[in-house]
């Protein structure tokens, strides 16, 4: 049985994902360095890859690379193509749009994405909320 640890935070700010209608805390805000991702284990056993771009915006998509089946997308490099943020799979380098989840190199593949926010107690600071994507 896996226990998910409640993160300790120096700034009091937390990174959260919207999972099945509830905000789920992933890690302290200061742990997420711009340009680099982390993987989070979600309550339902799935994994999310969470990134912060250099503008400070958060992005979260499914961690599983649909081309290899390996849970590695959090370890990919992020970048911008045509002004849109993407992550490149570290295995075979396919790129995925971080806002839509759409694979830029294969239009038939789309990743699940999650809404994100930075949260202090009950108060929201920044975020990228949009209607939840139907699962």
């Amino acid at each position: 049985m896996t226990t998910l640890t409640a993160p300790r935070t120096r700034t009091g700010l937390l990174v959260q994902l919207l999972v099945s209608g509830n905000w789920f805390t992933v890690c302290p805000d200061d742990l997420l360095a711009p340009g680099r991702g982390v993987a989070a284990l979600l309550p339902d056993g799935r994994q999310a890859a969470v990134f912060r771009d250099r503008g400070g915006r958060l992005h979260a998509v499914d961690n599983r690379d649909p081309f290899s089946g390996a849970a590695v997308l959090s370890r990919g490099l992020i970048g911008h193509a045509d002004g849109r943020p993407f992550v490149a799979s570290p295995l075979l380098k396919q790129r995925f749009d971080l806002v839509s989840g759409q694979c830029l190199d294969d239009a038939t593949v789309t990743l699940t994405r999650y809404d994100t926010r930075v949260h202090r107690r009950k108060q929201r600071i920044t975020g990228s909320e949009s209607p939840p994507v139907p699962g």
């Binding site: 982390v38 989070a40 499914d62 089946g69 590695v72 370890r75 911008h80 943020p85 239009a107």
Partner: protein, 871 residues
């Protein structure tokens, strides 16, 4: 035993693993159906699907393996069960089962028939004699090739597209070759009389004997039962040792017939626009199917369309149905250009022909137009240069007068009509249905700078190859149009080359990628996150120059960490299942028994797979991210350092045992290898660096295949540079002879730093040296004779590197903050990633790959995207 099948995991059975069957599986995988369903493939041939269209290229040297269209891991990756050499023989629709020759019975929820065609052999006496063949499978070709060894003459029955290909092959095997065609001309389906005449001239000119307008009545055999000749319908006889029947193909629909499915009058399983047969649980695709328009298509492109249609229908996603396809063809037979497209025979009402013929030159061109000037189709023989353009123009009014389209270049006609004249919707590659607009977008939007890149990006040109010419013209034109001749920039973010960026970073002492991007990036890229190409490249430049520009020499410090590819980021090599491999440095390949034991113990304690590498060291595979620090703590404690197997950096300096033990050795090659490896360890470069030192000219360390290789002489050392193994091997060039130890090291210092300074991203020394203006002589001028006056600087850069080297793993272990990133999950640091799993193999482990069947995530398809996505 029929395998269980439940509503939760439906079973899809595919019968026939040909080109269309394989494409169907790929289309299923792309729609993630492979994750939700059990998929069983029953195949008659002994090998997975291969490129039948390119079958004849076997005779020009392509091996059966190279012909394969099935990626080696495709089945395992998608959890598909493939049974080769075991054709389906019985279909029982009541119980929804298929039974194979070996007695295997599989229950299906959905059955897909992709059984292709069989070559039609006319029922003439003697047709089964020894020496009679058909031309359809690799096995057929192997048999023909073996038999041809003892034959002198060959005869092909049938002068159609495939017959000519077979005849070309027999001719290539050195046989005197005859073609017998029942119709009055060659390729009767594709070309008209005029075209047939031109074709006949060219084929005869190649030394093949054509007998048109006569049928084959009987195959004659000798006393030994083998073919000795044929009797023709005009009573004459032709002597031959070998006969290939190529008299057309018939759909393989017998399984469907006996199973009670509807078939067309002239064969072919009848299907609707979704490719469903008369039983909704059964689909048929490819050459075995009779499409909704009543036709049986004998070409691969329509088959691919059907594969896509059926897969989409099974996946439940909307797609335009398959209602019919274009029958354009271009013959690949060496030496003869023949093409027909659209309404080649002018069957449309009131249509008009424009014809150009030069029978002396064997050229015939015909365009079919409707009265208002719309191009309907055409035939080109002897000069099919314009095929790609004309085919794509079919259905529209060409921008030039029709006669100008068929006149040969230089006869008063304007310069040949280029692809520039085509509209964006024109289909350039009909095999993969790629339009001109898509090709242009590949260049302008996806930054493809070469034809191979465009092929990879769009798939255009990767089928029959008929569009290669027009594709090349189009890409060139597009590159030219998009401004400069060719953009030499590193990537979409930087217009500078790697070499220019190196100079900028060095001169301005820039230690930040962001600063470089914001000050020297392309306008649109400034302020963005850059991309996966320039980040590691700039990270490598900063690391190479770290001591000189005052950057941290530790590649994971601050912003530098965000630039590194995943391998450098975790200081280990990512493997296919998300685990990592660990390669400790073993300088010169020399290792003590105690250290060997430590490696063995670590591998045993962490359950790692061990292998001796091709680089004279030991690789430990299968470590999870969270195990890397624990493993390295043990290795560092025993005196090991990072082997940089993950970095674009020095890998190994291999050695031979040399003078110390070997009776031929003239220098201590092991000591020199160790010295060199320790000197250059950790040096980041545009690509990886490898070296070797041999103790004498017998060269047991293979130094001449290395980026810098050293071979001992009685007087000292010879230095070779620019060698490479890998896909394009290159022998190294001798740079200098009989060097002392100190001279050798100085020269390598200069060589390496000059390479790092001037090479392109991911350019090994071999490619760099081949590209370097002035080549080896120039290199020698620069690094031996100091013609540029930069040697002192190159040496001091290397001295700084050597002085600042520290082991990356020891540094990482020393810092808790750095260690914190080695977890599988940020919110569950003690939990290993459950998807990284292994199974036993040969007393060790290997990755458990059918991962794709685990926990399939639901696909979030936004309908809006689906509808607008370009194909």
């Amino acid at each position: 035993m029929p395998a269980p099948s439940t509503a939760a995991t439906p079973t899809i059975v595919l019968v026939g693993h040909g080109m269309v069957g394989q494409r169907f599986l790929e289309e299923l995988a792309a729609r993630q159906v492979t994750e939700r369903a059990r998929i069983v493939v029953l195949a008659e041939e002994p090998r997975p699907a291969y490129d039948r269209v390119a079958l004849t290229s076997y005779f020009t040297g392509r091996t059966p393996d190279e012909l394969s269209v099935t990626a080696p891991d495709f089945m395992a990756e998608h959890g598909i069960e493939l049974y080769l050499d075991d054709p389906a023989e019985h279909l029982d629709r009541a119980s929804r089962t298929v039974t194979t020759r070996s007695g295997r019975t599989v229950r299906y929820d959905t059955l897909v028939l992709a059984t292709g065609s069989y070559p039609f052999v006319p029922p003439v006496p003697g047709k089964d004699a020894r020496g009679c063949f058909v031309y359809r499978t690799i096995e057929d070709l192997l048999a023909i090739e073996a038999y041809a060894k003892t034959a002198h003459t060959g005869l092909v029955v049938g002068g159609g597209l495939l017959g000519l290909e077979a005849a070309g092959a027999l001719d290539g095997l050195g046989l005197a070759t005859h073609i017998v065609e029942f119709a009055p001309r060659l390729m009767p389906v594709q070309v008209d009389e005029g075209g047939g005449a031109a074709l006949l001239r060219t084929v005869s000119g190649m030394g093949l004997s054509v007998h048109a307008g006569v049928g084959t009545q009987e195959v004659l055999t000798g006393e030994d039962g083998a073919v000795s000749g044929v009797r023709l319908s005009d009573g004459s006889e032709l002597a031959t040792d070998l006969v290939v029947f190529s008299a057309g193909v018939r759909p393989r629909d017998s399984l469907a017939r006996t199973g009670g499915l509807g078939v067309g009058e002239r064969g072919g399983i009848t299907v609707d626009t979704d490719c469903r047969s008369t039983d909704p649980a059964v689909y048929a695709i490819g050459e075995c199917a009779q499409a909704a328009d009543g036709r049986v298509y004998g070409l691969v492109a329509p088959g691919y369309e059907m594969a896509r249609t059926a897969a989409a229908s099974i996946a439940g996603t909307a797609v335009d149905g398959f209602t019919g396809a274009d029958l354009s063809t271009k013959l690949k037979l060496l030496g003869v250009d023949v093409a027909s497209f659209g309404d080649a025979h002018g069957t449309a009402e009131d249509c008009l022909d424009v014809v150009y013929a030069d029978s002396r030159a064997g050229v015939y061109k015909k365009l079919v137009l409707d009265p208002d000037g719309t191009l309907l189709g055409g035939i080109l023989v002897g000069d099919a240069e314009a095929y790609g353009t004309l085919r794509a123009l079919t259905g529209s009014k060409p921008p030039l007068a029709p006669e100008q389209l068929v006149l040969p270049a230089g006869s008063g006609a304007p310069a040949a009509l280029g692809p520039a004249a085509l509209p964006d919707e024109a289909v350039i590659c009909s095999c993969h249905n790629v339009t001109k607009g898509t090709v242009r977008a590949a260049v302008t939007e996806h930054a493809c700078g070469t034809v191979p890149e465009v092929k990879k990006c769009t798939k255009a040109g990767t089928g029959c190859g008929g569009c290669a010419k027009v594709l090349e013209q189009l890409v060139d034109a597009e590159l030219e149009a998009s401004g400069v001749e060719v953009d030499k920039g590193l990537c979409g973010c930087f217009g500078h080359t790697r070499q220019e960026l190196y100079e900028i970073v060095r001169a301005l002492r820039l230690t930040s990628y962001r600063e470089l991007l914001d000050t020297h990036g392309r306008e649109a890229a400034r302020g963005t996150d850059g991309c996966e190409i320039c980040k590691p490249a700039v990270g490598s430049i900063i690391a190479s120059l770290a001591p000189a520009i005052g950057a941290s020499g530790y590649v994971l410090d601050g912003e530098q960490a965000a630039l590194q590819d995943t391998n450098d980021h975790f200081l280990a090599n990512l493997q296919r299942n998300g685990s990592y491999s660990v390669v400790p440095r073993i300088p010169g390949g020399e290792i003590t028994p105690d250290k060997l034991i430590v490696i063995g113990e670590v591998a045993r304690d962490f359950g790692l797979y061990t292998k001796i590498t091709g680089g004279q060291r030991i690789d430990l595979f299968g470590a999870r991210v969270d195990q890397l620090p624990l493993i390295w703590a043990r290795l560092v404690a025993a005196g090991f350092e990072s082997g940089h197997a993950y970095g674009k950096a020095l890998r190994t300096v291999k050695s031979c045992v040399g003078q110390t033990w070997c009776r031929y050795g003239v220098q201590d090659s092991v000591r020199m290898a160790i010295d060199l490896e320790l000197r250059y360890r950790g040096l980041r470069a545009p690509h990886k660096l490898k070296s070797a030192v041999s103790g004498c000219t017998r060269e047991c360390a293979e130094a001449q295949s290395k980026d810098f290789g050293v071979i001992a002489t009685a007087q000292g050392w010879n230095l070779y540079v620019g060698g490479n193994g890998g896909a394009t091997p290159r022998h190294a060039d001798l740079l200098a002879q009989d060097l002392s130890d100190a001279e050798l090291v100085r020269l390598i210092d200069r060589f390496l730093m000059f390479y790092i300074r001037t090479a392109d991203r991911l350019e090994r020394t071999a490619a760099w040296l081949d590209r370097l203006e002035g080549g080896l002589d120039h290199l020698r001028d620069v690094v031996v004779h100091d013609s540029l006056g930069i040697c002192a600087e190159l040496e001091s850069l290397m001295d700084a590197h050597v002085a600042h080297y520290r082991d990356e793993w020891a540094e990482t272990l020393d810092d808790p903050d750095r260690l914190a990133r080695f977890v599988s999950f940020v919110n569950a640091p003690d939990t290993p990633d459950p998807t990284v799993r292994f199974v036993p193999e040969r007393d060790q482990i290997k990755p458990d790959l059918p991962l794709l069947t685990l926990d399939p995530p639901p696909r979030t398809t936004t309908p809006a995207l689906e509808g607008t996505a370009t194909r």
